[in-house]
Symmetry: D3
Subunit: 289 residues, 6 copies
């Protein structure tokens, strides 16, 4: 591969993406391995450098669990779902907003760019309502479980993001929402990223995760391009199954609602973000209408 060929291939993408909005969900190892996080941040800053409007949304489940244990508060799960009582929410909020979010902002500052960390209650960015009790299988028995202070997004007011993007900040969003009575609620970060991408009319949503993308049945090949209908068919046929389904759901909703493309990319490999965006073939799975 000659340098000039890489450049000839990349430059048209760089032009095409200039001024476009990209929402990146940081997940997987990036949330626990500082050196992976740093590489991902550096790539995201490069996207900012070539003119993209970058919004980062992060999760933080493992860190919340770790901090709870450190504080002697036992995490409770029913049928695999975390129960978020008031104390758990307070810890989650402190970890997500006061630790992880601030940490990402500092990393971006270290790359020479300015970020502003917010959560969903800032500027009423994410309005949610408490999630209805869920039917969950516990052992053999299915029961209704109240997940506690967990929310479903009802409305997104992206104005604070527009305001920060217009001033060339990288907004970093923690997955906390506010309900109509001003109470905080914990929310799923994948969903938050997708809803934000939709509300911003983003050009791309990238879900940085621990897998290489959507694979064929024998898990040897990544599908680099997937139309929404193909993805739906593959889910129906059981080719896409298990943990990949929730990863894809946000992407599919985004594409259905005006986001031009949504990507599932393995964030653990260095510079995958750049390769996915600036090469013809990409490295993960790109979902389009």
């Amino acid at each position: 591969m000659k340098r000039e060929d890489v450049l000839m291939e990349a430059l048209p993408y760089i032009q095409k993406f200039y001024g476009k909005t990209i929402v990146i969900k940081l997940g997987g190892h990036a949330m626990v391995d500082q050196s992976i996080l740093e590489t991902v941040i550096r790539d995201a800053v490069l996207l900012r450098y070539v003119g993209m409007k970058v919004v980062l949304v992060h999760g933080g489940g493992p860190e919340i669990t770790a901090k709870m244990e450190a504080m002697g508060k036992e995490p409770k799960f029913v049928g695999g779902l975390r129960i978020t009582d008031a104390e758990t929410l307070e810890i989650a909020q402190m970890v997500l907003v006061g630790k992880i979010n601030d940490g990402i902002v500092s990393l971006i500052a270290n790359c020479g760019t300015r970020a502003v960390g917010i959560s969903g209650n800032d500027g009423n960015l994410l309005i949610a309502r408490k999630m209805e009790p869920q039917r969950v299988k516990v052992g053999e028995v299915e029961q209704e479980v109240d997940l506690g202070q967990v929310g479903e997004i009802e409305e997104v007011d992206p104005e604070v993001l527009h305001c920060l993007l217009a001033q060339n900040y990288i907004p970093v969003v923690a997955p906390i929402a506010i309900d109509r009575q001003g109470r905080s609620l914990n929310i799923n970060a994948d969903t938050a990223a997708a809803e934000i991408a939709i509300a911003l009319g983003a050009f791309k949503l990238v879900n940085l995760t621990d897998v290489d993308g959507v694979m064929d049945a024998d898990r040897t090949t990544v599908y680099h391009r997937l139309a929404l209908t193909e993805a739906e068919a593959m889910i129906g046929a059981g080719v896409i199954a298990g943990g990949m389904i929730p990863k894809l759901e946000g992407c599919m909703k985004a594409v259905r609602n005006g986001v031009a493309s949504a990507h599932v990319v393995n964030g653990n490999r260095e510079h995958n973000l750049l390769l996915e965006l600036f090469t013809d073939q990409g490295v993960g799975t790109m979902l389009t209408l």
Copy 2:
């Protein structure tokens, strides 16, 4: 007092303050008594309603101490000063940013206005350096004490505040700063409020605290107006002494650097903020050049 007289008195102030920036330091009981905090927030939102650009800066010492104790981490003080080791800083940051700051943002949202909570590392708002070791009297002996992760503000970049104020958000600032290597530092909230007021070219700085203002020697009368030189003379003559001196220092620095007036007001009495601003006599102490 007739209604029309109150109005005739207040309207010219309202006109004069329209579009002006006011930085309010929330301290004292407001930080621990939720109902006082709510009243203060409501008054601050009314200021926003009549056209002022409001910036809130909050502290949180007592809550940090409480949370440390809850987590089994013993707060350390030498000669009255808190020693902030790495663990203490992490807890302070989580409490200030993830709990208090978010809580204030939610209260403001409940008043029908939008706020955005940030800390000093967002948009490089507050750049600090680690504070030099301080000479402190411990018992009879003076010794040099390294306070740990505590910072002195070196530079303020108010752009993120301008950006948020221009979009009619109320920025709520937690007293955390960032050093040139991207590390967080704990900072004094009074100082942060004063530095922010200076950097914004604010019209007013209001320090909401637990005392009624600067008093005469026998502590019966509040000085409602004080010129900077008078304050300096009273400090020199020992009339102003003790805990009032640090409360006044930020105010004096602000007035010396272009803030038109700085106020020390008892935030524990309802609506003192409004009475200080919109009546001829005021209720606390107003310091001017």
Copy 3:
């Protein structure tokens, strides 16, 4: 009544009215008693101070009559209506534009604000046509009377007002209109104020007059709030009658055509204008849709 309560009550109104347009008809004693006029002007200027866009419209019947008598010209009335021959019109125009209007402008200048006095022919503000002869009862006989140089407003071009308001002037309007041939016509000031409020899309029209507002049948209580349909019903039922009907007509037309509220307020009592606008109950009658 505590000061803080007055402020808490007033501030939301002040916010709500900021930047809104208010048209005030000056009538009653304000037109003949200089000290009442000065108080009213001072209140109007305070409205300007808290961000309202204020337009004043004045009458001047008594002064015109006085000047005619001083000039040895006998005012003629048929069935209570003034007959405006060419000479009367010239005197009216000189008194309204050259004396009363200029006097109000000077009073406003004395309050530290700038006003510009215009009449309806400036910038083609008020285009009128000569009024059709009216059927009037003279003694027992009804006859048709040509009122002379009196006009009905056909069209309002508010651009000159927008231009002056945008530059923070208070426009002061004399009730003279121009017909399509460039001839001046005398017009009713109440009607002029209502038409101007409609053309400006004003938020409020206030008719400052000599009575306290719309009262109940035994004239002891003022109706502080009245819906348009209620007012119509009360006129139909004869509860509102006599001199109040013409005072209400302009207000009703304004409210029917997009002005959010129209007020009948006694301008002879000090500061009634402020109390009507900035207290929950008000002092006069507020008409809304």
Copy 4:
């Protein structure tokens, strides 16, 4: 003269004057002969049509005298100067503002353009102070005479004119000023026009009067171009004398203070205004630096 030659001659002037400000003092017969006034107004409107910003300033001495006489008030003169007592001022103001000014506005409206009539107290356009008593020869004796409510201009605030010109109105200014206490004063219209031209940074001042311009000693030839120094020399040498001196003074002051050229033109001859501006030679006297 062929049409195309007139056009070739005029077009460059039209280009040069586009967007430029011209202040025209209307005086002489135009103030008493309606048909002359109409012609002059029509020409002024044509100037507006080809892009000039036109400001009209008018006098009205003869009409004031006539109205005083009609009202049985005897005009008083000492040594040829009018004494303006309070009653005289009231009449002057009514005639100038309420009659002449409104009349000119109506004439302009008839030409299809919009004008706004103001006097010097509107928007604090002309701030004056009462003129000092003047030394006047009465018969053989020189005595000090207090002229009454007559003012000298101290300050011009042209903002209201800029505001109206920006909206394409032709401002028409009556020679009334306001003093610092808000009292009206009568002022000289020639002086008012010159001061307004200076404050606007006008390109041209045109004094439309009853004579053909500055003439040579035997009054047969008009000097079409005159440098300021030439005019000064001619006054020194007595070539320019008598009634022409006061006519020239405002022009000379204007040219000294940045107005590019000032013209004395006979307004009684039809279209002299156009011929003076759009032909190489002109018809009156053009004074330049």
Copy 5:
């Protein structure tokens, strides 16, 4: 004819045309007689001076023929139509763009105004397709002739003209177009001028040619005003015939497509352009809807 009458007649036209766009086709002797060209250019610059947005479109047939002969390349015509082979096109392009166009730009620069010369391939101004073979009578026989590199305009992108006009340049357009494959094509200048006038939403199209306008049957009188329907009827009736038909076609298409008026004017008489535009009667034929 008095000067003032010419001015009174012309000024309203000057006002009316201010800021309007006029497309002028330079043809006839102006393309071969340098002194005529200079006069026409000077008139066009005067139009620019009085605020019109002027676009010039030129032809150049005779010069192309002359240059071809000088280069020993024989011009080929079939049935009166020029056959444009590749070599002919190259010569045409060099003459039109490199010689005539540049020459006009220089003449305009000499008049003190700035021009920019472009051809239809600049900014994709004129997109054309190769013209279909034409049926032509050669002697007695009609045959199909391929005219070679000659184009029909398919699309006009006037943005480059808007851009230049907004900066006060006079664009000068050579009649070369570009096809969708980026090849140059020769086009008819009359058609190009009409299409450009339509695309610009021009106010006027002026075809400067060698005849005085549309004449009556015995060729003694020019029709100064002609409605589109009249022109169509006259063509139908054979009153307009011969060489005038192609001259009128562009004008008729322009008027049909939103250009307010199109003129056929004899460009060989001095200043006809000015007389046509700025006198009531005009000198050529004005076609309107």
Copy 6:
């Protein structure tokens, strides 16, 4: 070389160059070999795609000579310098403007971007004066030679370029200038490019030529970075000599007058333009202050 490394290396340059102006002189084989020209144009368009403001300046000596010969006009040289008589100038202008310039514009259009071809007389871009007679060695004898219609640039008015760049056109400039009398002059394209870069305050000037850059004495290594003072010293020491000196002169003048860097790059190798700009080492010589 891995793709991601090329991207990591290139992206910061792309960011740095965004919105910057680059002037590219097209010379060497690009002017005679269509396929090289096409590659160069494609690269230049890619620069436009990633946000650079691209200006192209071209020469055309060999084509002029060829065309002269085709037209039977013998090119004349004295001491190696071309003598440009009137006929030569006409041919040069037709070739440069009517053929080469238009051809480049068409190539750019084919790449999907819009260009506008101009020469130095458009918008008075390049004002020149006739060059003084030069002392030239002819054989053994030095004599003074008048080069004819050849100009030296006196003044650059870049407004037409700003205007076109602001609308995202690529301006293509032919090396023709205009003198103060409106006459065309032939100018050196290298000099024109340098003067244009200076007048635009360009960020970069790139001279695409036939050599790889400045080389060391034994011509094996290219100096990739050269400070201005180094280049001057190398010329003084004779290391840089011969044909490289005129190539460097424009670059040195540009760098001396505010252009951040000037490059000599071999335009005959594919994509050298991209490699020079977007790799750390580059391929040619970059001259900086």
